[in-house]
């Protein structure tokens, strides 16, 4: 039995199509990432799966329960961490945790082993109101509260947004540990670099799934020649590249420009072409793709691929 199964789920807000026939499966103990920019429909999907929102079309099952007909069962068995910090800011760390333990009919002691690794970091701030915690600490507390009733599926909606880099890494380490305890985790993030830490990812844009695969497979499938170009004249270079006949796409990527060419070329050939254009080039290297390259490549295709 898979932890989450969704079939052709669609949802519109008025004229805006938030989700367009989305389908995927999440297995038990799988860390499944939903990767896409803001407004892609990630939160809408979370709200449908956590039984807060009704889909217009399609079916969804969470731990074998139908999201509409058996919503009461689902609410007992899932942990949900909304995108916005949703704990009681005026209650202390401890009070929040025991509150959520109690409303799920359990106690902190009973499931302490599950949250122990995370909670020890919060222990020094036990009596501090949740609103006065740092961003990273807030996320850890929210995760504890979502876990305290030993859920079978964990829904984490952009858990690392607005959290510093160190805390983000720690957070993903925790998710790896939880996964090993057999908890299925559906996590969304706008950060492409976090995608590699998932077992499987779905790239989502404008309500449609672009691709579903393991991060490694997505990268391996990316067979187009990709180059990183270092230049001091980024804007001129971009403009020139986009007019060049060998360019499939050229996008700024941090301090570099990532260039995909239409046919196989060596870095040397690329550099020669660029020198002809009379734009200063410092370095051209052939690189392997990142998830971000994959995403950008897929998202520039006109239509999202259909399964």
């Amino acid at each position: 039995m898979s932890a989450i199964t969704i079939n052709n789920i669609s949802k519109s807000y008025g004229d805006v199509l938030a989700l367009n026939r989305v389908s995927f499966n999440v297995a038990k103990g799988e860390l499944f990432g939903l990767i896409g920019p803001d407004g892609a429909g990630k939160s809408t999907l979370f709200r449908i799966l956590t039984t807060l929102l009704l889909a217009d079309e399609g079916e969804g099952y969470v731990v074998g329960h139908h999201v509409v007909n058996e919503y009461k069962e689902i609410r007992k068995k899932v942990g949900y961490m909304p995108g916005r910090f949703s704990l009681y800011q005026d209650l202390s760390v401890e009070e929040n945790l025991s509150f959520f333990a109690t409303i799920f009919g359990t106690t902190i002691q009973e499931n302490y082993d599950l949250v122990k690794d995370i909670y020890v970091q919060l222990e020094p701030f036990r009596t501090r109101p949740a609103g006065k915690l740092s961003g990273g600490m807030k996320q850890k507390l929210a995760l504890c509260c979502a876990l305290i009733h030993r859920p079978e599926v964990l829904f984490l909606d952009e858990p690392t947004t607005g959290v510093d880099a160190v805390s983000r890494v720690e957070f993903w380490d925790m998710l790896q540990k939880l996964k090993q305890k057999g908890i299925a985790i559906l996590v969304s993030t706008p950060y492409m670099d976090e995608a590699t830490r998932c077992d499987c990812i779905a790239l989502i844009q404008k309500g449609g799934i672009l691709s579903i695969n393991s991060p490694q497979q997505l990268i391996d499938d990316f067979r187009r020649p990709l180059f990183a170009i270092k230049t001091s004249a980024t804007y001129r270079m971009l403009k020139a590249l986009r007019n060049a006949n060998f360019t499939a796409s050229a996008l700024p990527f941090g301090e570099n420009i990532h260039l995909i060419t239409t046919s196989k070329m060596t870095p040397k050939e690329v550099k020669e072409h660029l020198d002809e254009l009379n734009i200063p080039v410092e370095e051209v290297t052939a690189i392997t793709a990142t998830i971000e390259d994959v995403f950008l490549e897929l998202s520039t295709l006109k239509e999202p691929i259909k399964e």
Binding site: T50, L52, P82, R84, F85, L87, L91, E95, T102, I103
Partner: protein
């Protein structure tokens, strides 16, 4: 059961931790109670009068003296000139102009019927009616006093003598009348505002999103909100009654337990309405505006400032779904008149019906799912 207990406990922690709500719930209503009970008086204590005495006789001077001697009247001017007198009215300085015509005494002694003229400034209807009532009473007693001068025969004429006593508030102490009403009103208002703001606050902060994905049942959620605010309301009622007793020495004729017993139902009804408003509002701002809509109607139609009996018939029916009208009626009846349960059974029946309707709607309209 444990869930419910913890929900209530959580709400209490939040109430006592909120630095703004606590004084709002205790100090502010007490200040209002003291202030309003002293200030909001319908009593007409001072009537400014201008006497135009054109007769200048023994009788007219006697009348004048009687008016001056009455502590409710303040003679601001005496003149012979009608024009000047009406200027006082025009300038809003005088409430009443009393004109004693020329030959007043002469006509009177002749057995004719002399006429006095009263010009009343009716901009303030309350002052006008009460003031002219006082003056009429003075003139009537004046009439009685000068009567014997006329003839022995008249003395034998029987006169109807009216003597009145004010039951339940013998000294017509306005504060005794106002304080219980204002207290009842403040308690109801505070609870409606607190409850109307509460659920919507959870929605604004996003905490409701997290709560909704839990096995909490609708009724548990609503009862979890109801009980703490009920306790707050009862606490305020207790403190308010103590303050009223100490500050105004209000009478407590009836059984005080009856007041508290009734107040529980009343507050539950009011809280139900507050939660109902909260369920439909998106923001605290919306909630407060809707709450104010009801508060204005409730306050002005609850019988505190204007008697329900003098409202038009349709408006009287509209006071039935007004919980404020019932609690004010109960507090006055029990405190001042010493009414028992049977005397206030209708208030109980209406209030319980309201409590059931409002709370059922509140539970029904609280949706965990969109």
């Amino acid at each position: 059961m444990r869930t419910l207990r913890y929900l209530i406990q959580k709400e209490f922690i939040q109430i006592f931790r909120n630095k703004a709500i606590l004084p709002m719930m205790t100090v502010m209503p007490i200040i209002q109670l003291l202030l309003l009970s002293n200030a909001a008086s319908n009593e007409v204590k001072e009537v400014n009068i201008v006497v135009v005495d054109k007769d200048f006789s023994e009788s007219s001077r006697l009348l004048n003296r009687k008016i001056e001697a009455n502590k409710r009247f303040h003679v601001i001017a005496a003149t012979y000139n009608n024009k000047e007198a009406s200027n006082y009215l025009q300038a809003n300085q005088a409430d009443i102009v009393l004109e004693v015509p020329h030959d007043f005494e002469k006509d009177y002694l002749r057995g004719e019927r002399p006429k006095l003229q009263m010009l009343i400034n009716a901009i303030n209807g309350q002052n006008a009616t009460v003031g002219s009532g006082y003056l009429n009473a003075i003139i009537a007693s004046f009439n009685g006093e000068i009567m014997p001068v006329k003839s022995i025969k008249d003395l034998q004429k029987t006169q109807i003598n009216i003597s009145s006593r004010n039951w339940y508030n013998p000294e017509l102490n306005y504060k005794h009348f106002m304080a219980p009403g204002i207290l009842a009103e403040l308690t109801a208002l505070l609870t409606i505002v607190l409850s109307a703001m509460n659920v919507v606050r959870e929605r604004e902060l996003g905490t409701i999103e997290q709560i909704n994905v839990t096995p909490i049942k609708k009724w548990q959620f609503i009862v979890g909100k109801l009980v703490p605010f009920l306790c707050v309301g009862m606490g305020l009622l207790t403190v308010g009654l103590l303050v009223s007793k100490v500050a105004f020495n209000i009478p407590i004729e009836g059984n005080i337990a009856l007041i508290f017993g009734y107040a529980i139902f009343n507050l539950v009804a009011v809280l139900g309405l507050g939660l109902l408003i909260s369920n439909f509002a998106e923001t605290q701002q919306q909630a407060i505006f809707v709450a104010f809509f009801f508060i204005m109607i409730f306050v002005l139609m609850c019988g505190l400032f204007t008697p329900i009996e003098s409202m038009p018939k349709w408006a009287q029916y509209l006071t039935i779904p007004n919980p404020l009208a019932h609690i004010i009626s109960v507090s006055r009846k029990v405190l001042m008149k010493g009414s028992g349960f049977w005397d206030i059974r209708w208030e109980f029946i209406y209030t319980i019906a309201l409590a059931i309707v409002f709370n059922t709607l509140a539970i029904w309209s609280y949706r965990k799912q969109v």
